[in-house]
């Protein structure tokens, strides 16, 4: 990795922008700022450029451009004139190259050593618990149970119905979910409380914490809705502890991985630059809207996506300058094909497009180019899952449930391990999930998993991946393809769908 090359590239880009060589874009701030920010974000994401240095370069660039606008002619100048007062107050309000800020506080996992050393437990559940509390009624659909060092929780879907509030709050608003009216007991008489995950997203009621965490030997939990018989959740892994369903990963109970030839691990070797480009490509693919409006295209990507695509040529050149992307890499040509297929012009990628696209990309492009909505809508339902995949780039991924609700499909996963430092920026890259995840349904169509919600606690991230496109039929078997920089895993999983009444 050539850090000096990376910094030099960004500084030379600033010089080119200063000369007005970069196309003035319809963007706020000095012309060229968007492209510089995109390149800076790419270089910091792959670790080739210190974020503080990147910030310093961008800040100096803004100051340099805007000080020239103090006397500018608004007709001739590409940027808006500024006043001295505006100049002095723009940019960041910190001096150059201060020491790195501490990592933003996250929900700390319990510090109890006993809890920390306890093996993780992942159990598929697949039980529906109907409930009624006053005018509120519904069903709690338990997909899986997960217990790790950061606590115990159910991954669940809810169907809540209330005539008065439904139209205003939506059927899954956590405010409607009567957590406190449920009672949970174990086989030893212990009692637990259900709650919305602390620090979790109120718009994401799929992760329900269980407090206190059950002891290691607990065999089952009874989940009882108000005034109703409990539903028993068997916490023993399928096949029993150490049995046929025992995990392939040390320190995990339950969470069986599909055995035999159901899991294939292939070594791959993506450079940091290639990995970033693949992530960008998949963000683009999974963001691109479908065609739900009477068969008409929903329109090309706009706003930041178009700006991001406009920076692809610069990003690729910068990654090459930083020596994290080989000039012989096939990935830029694939990205060029993707841009051409999605009508994203002006991407600036120097290499010609290629027909050699990964199968999942082709599948998704074919979906978009079909240009008509899928005729059938899949019924709302969920499938229990608790499958731990072999470790990828130091991250252990456990699939904890698949859900389809009102035309939208989501895969719930838990990522454990050291993930990169978050790097907010224009590229919309989620480093808390630096992996590719694709799902192929039984009809052979691929669905991209796009991180949609994330709750981070210590070295764990509970993530909801929105599937693009959504499922159209309840597949009884899916293939999951998870890819990192060093390897990819293919796992075939049987599914048993359950449907709320």
């Amino acid at each position: 990795m050539d850090r000096e090359g990376a910094e030099t590239y960004l500084r030379l880009l600033a010089e080119a922008a200063m000369r007005g060589s970069l196309m003035p874009a319809a963007e706020p701030g000095p012309p060229g700022t968007s492209r510089m920010m995109v390149v800076a974000h790419a270089l910091t994401t792959v670790g080739a450029l210190d974020p503080l240095v990147a910030e310093e370069i961008l800040d100096d660039f803004r100051l340099a451009v805007s000080v020239r606008l103090l006397r500018s002619d608004p007709v001739q100048s590409p940027g808006q004139p500024v006043t001295a007062a505006q100049w002095i107050s723009q940019g960041r309000a910190v001096p150059h190259r201060r020491p790195p800020a501490p990592r933003p506080p996250q929900d700390e996992p319990p510090e109890d050593d006993a809890v920390q050393s306890r093996p993780d437990r992942f159990v598929p559940v697949g039980l529906t618990v109907p409930f009624r509390a006053g005018v509120v009624s519904g069903e709690l659909c338990l997909m899986s149970f997960a217990q790790t060092s950061s606590g115990a929780r159910f991954i669940a879907a809810w169907e809540v119905s209330t005539p008065e509030l439904e139209s205003r709050l939506g059927r899954q608003h956590p405010g409607l979910i009567p957590f406190d009216l449920f009672t949970v007991t174990d086989d030893r008489g212990g009692r637990y409380q259900l709650d919305h995950t602390p620090g979790g997203d109120l718009e994401w009621p799929n992760e329900i914490s269980l407090r206190p965490p059950p002891a290691e030997g607990i065999r089952w939990l009874d989940v009882a809705p108000p005034y109703r018989q409990p539903v028993r959740v068997d916490l023993r892994p399928p096949g029993g502890y150490g049995g046929a369903g025992s995990p392939p990963v040390r320190g995990v109970t339950g969470g069986s991985s599909p055995g035999g030839d159901a899991v294939q691990v292939s070594d791959i070797k993506l450079s940091p630059g290639e990995h970033l480009l693949v992530m960008l490509a998949e963000r683009l693919l999974s963001w691109t809207p479908g065609f739900p409006h009477g068969g008409r295209p929903a329109g090309p990507p706009i706003g930041p996506w178009r700006a991001m695509a406009a920076g692809f040529g610069d990003i690729i050149a910068a990654l090459e300058a930083a020596d994290v992307l080989s000039p012989l890499s096939p990935v830029p040509a694939r990205l060029a094909t993707l841009c051409a297929s999605l009508d994203l012009n002006g991407h600036g990628i120097a290499v010609p497009p290629t027909h050699d696209l990964p199968e999942p990309w082709l599948s998704l492009l074919a979906h978009y180019q079909r240009r008509k909505p899928d005729p059938a809508q899949m019924r709302d339902g969920y499938a229990a899952l608790a499958a731990s995949l072999p470790e990828l780039d130091g991250i252990r991924l456990t699939l904890l449930g698949l859900q389809h609700t009102r035309g939208s499909s989501a895969l719930h996963v838990l990522a454990q391990g050291q993930t990169p430092e978050p790097r907010p920026g224009p590229l919309d890259i989620d480093l808390s999930f630096p992996l590719s995840l694709w799902l192929r349904d039984s009809g052979g169509r691929w669905h991209a998993g796009r991180p949609d919600r994330c709750h981070r606690a210590g070295l764990e991230s509970a993530i909801r991946l929105r599937l693009m496109p959504p499922l159209t039929r309840p597949a009884d078997r899916v293939e999951v393809l998870a890819g990192g920089r060093s390897a990819e895993v293919r796992a075939r999983l049987p599914l048993h769908w359950r449907y709320p009444s």
């Binding site: 030099t8 200063m18 060589s21 002095i88 107050s89 309000a93 150059h96």
Partner: protein, 305 residues
């Protein structure tokens, strides 16, 4: 006439002056032979002592302090002018307006000291500490920008000379990281590229984006070569970072349609330079003679072969 072989980088530069609003009047600030002088203030050090005791600090004295603070600041190269066609015009009214704005706050509400009804918890103490740190850093950033604006307000002659000083502060220490452990080479390479590209455009009519610059770090003057045609045309230039101070800052970069790549004998108003007539040729030794800059830019020397 001064004529010093291997003299300081600024030897081929004449003195330059600016007038600065100071107290009730306007004072001259003068740069001469690498030093900033304040003719209207006979004892700036004594004035500083008085200011420390509560007296008002003269703006001239403040500027001299600011100048010294930024003699090795690489940001000067990122913000300062790249060529004669890139004027950075800042007035003292701009500086005053900016100073007033910076006193108005940085988006951080300025309250008095917080009164606590009970002893602060650790979390509150941390929050207060973070807030104080942020305010302190914001104040430093504000001061830094105000510094920069004041230095730019001195005019083009001072801006270019300050760039020369910054280059000179770093040119002999390319392999030494800055105080934060980062390489200084990228900033210097970008400074060279940003200033050489417009010179090359003027010299050959080449698109500045087709100029590729590298830092020459071995002995000799470097290399300049032209390759390719059309959009693939590239002018590949490798020059030592000293070129920025000894040649560019002294206004010698393009002299008599030659690209000056080195100064053999520094002097004012006569110097002996090493210059290229065209890319790919060997440099020749030429005598250059300077005259005052064109009207409006008296501080920028004009050299002729």
């Amino acid at each position: 006439m001064t004529s010093v072989p291997n003299g300081p980088w600024y030897t081929p530069l004449p003195a330059c002056e600016a007038t600065v609003p100071c107290g009730q009047g306007r004072h001259v600030v003068r740069w001469e032979a690498g030093e900033l002088r304040l003719p209207s203030h006979s004892d700036p050090e004594a004035e500083l002592v008085l200011a420390a005791l509560g007296g008002e600090k003269a703006r001239c004295v403040e500027i001299a302090q600011t100048w010294r603070r930024h003699l090795a600041d690489l940001t000067v190269l990122a913000i300062g002018p790249r060529s004669a066609a890139d004027p950075v015009e800042v007035s003292w009214d701009d500086v005053d307006a900016a100073a007033q704005a910076s006193q108005g706050g940085w988006g951080v509400p300025r309250h008095g000291a917080m009164k606590l009804a009970s002893p602060p918890t650790a979390a509150i103490a941390r929050a207060v500490s973070r807030r104080m740190q942020y305010q302190q850093e914001a104040g430093q950033a504000s001061q830094r920008r105000l510094d920069m604006l004041s230095l730019l307000a001195l005019g083009t002659g001072f801006q270019v000379r300050l760039s020369g000083h910054v280059i000179a502060a770093h040119a002999g220490r390319l392999d030494e990281p800055d105080e934060h452990g980062h390489s200084i080479v990228p900033a210097l390479k970008a400074a060279l590229a940003g200033r050489l590209a417009p010179v090359a455009e003027q010299w050959l009519g080449i698109d500045p984006d087709q100029v590729e610059v590298s830092l020459h770090r071995d002995g000799g003057w470097g290399s300049v070569g032209l390759t390719g045609r059309g959009e693939q045309r590239r002018l590949r230039v490798s020059l030592p970072v000293w070129w920025l101070a000894r040649v560019w800052a002294c206004g010698l970069a393009l002299t008599g349609r030659h690209l000056v790549v080195g100064v053999e004998r520094a002097g004012w108003p006569d110097a002996q330079v090493l210059a290229l007539r065209a890319p790919g040729t060997e440099p020749v030794s030429l005598s250059a003679h300077a005259s005052a800059g064109p009207p409006g830019t008296p501080d920028a020397p004009h050299w002729e072969i």
